[in-house]
Symmetry: C2
Subunit: 194 residues, 2 copies
Amino acid sequence: MTSRPGGRSARVREAVLAAVYAELIDRGYPGLTVEHVAERAGVHKTTVYRRWGTVDGLVADALDHTRETDWRAPDTGTVEGDLIAIAAEVADTFTDPGRRPVVVAVVTAALQSARALDAKRDFYAARHADAAAVVTRAVDRGELPAGTDPVELVRLACAPLYYRVFITGEPVDRSTAERSARAALAAARAGLLG
Amino acid sequence: MTSRPGGRSARVREAVLAAVYAELIDRGYPGLTVEHVAERAGVHKTTVYRRWGTVDGLVADALDHTRETDWRAPDTGTVEGDLIAIAAEVADTFTDPGRRPVVVAVVTAALQSARALDAKRDFYAARHADAAAVVTRAVDRGELPAGTDPVELVRLACAPLYYRVFITGEPVDRSTAERSARAALAAARAGLLG
């Protein structure tokens, strides 16, 4: 017998990971338990223990699953539009009460679990690599200096938003997103991200 | 009777908060307990419970204490030198095995305790306000456009370093610090931080 994609095993994973996200939204990382996840997913808790081990394993697999989900970088026609769209997506996540708790839970989990930390690192590396396409295209179009580090530009556009949320505890919105995207772009145009 | 500065109460606070920092370095936030702190400080645990309540109270007071400590913004003569010095101080903290765990513990605590969150917010607001002096001086010297938001420039100089440490899990060093300081400055010079 072979395991089919979309078979029982895949359906269990979908149900369990959906339950992980729902639990993180309702209770946060400190309240996440295998028992709650199993109950919410409608599977036996020994199934969850056997396959994922602990709550850290659940968070890591939820991140892996989201990473595997197709995400396409915006393509607005200008690098400014693209970077603003990327930063706005980050800001929107933090102003959405259904998504902010998930990011907060992931960062919290990664501070306390090596397994979650690895999954988080892989997740951001993958998203950065995808987002970097907007910079590569801009260099090809002659909008930015040749040799501009694509990932560094994405980092600089997003970093101030995460800094406000996780470090200084300040609000973010579309205007903070625009500002940080434009600031990052100014550095790239000045040839500082080579 | 009045409580004298430098009296027994202040000595107990110094000993307890020094123990908090030492415990955070040795065990991290998840391993912080009132019992360990009391034992390390050489005071009875009921003294700690009565004055600080919980580990969150200890972390919050440790942050308040550090915030009260005099910190002077660098004054190298140029805004570029000053911003690089500020960013380098952040990078040095993250490469110092005796200081990095404390910042990590503070961020972790603030994700799980409203009291630690408030103390962290106050801490960064105070440090940003102090650091903003380098921007105000630069505007006065005509190095930067009038109306440049001083705190925003400091945020942009520091944010990429925290983003690497807490979000993407990438290393920081003096060269990442210089790069982020110069990138922030390019945005300010372009008049984008008004």
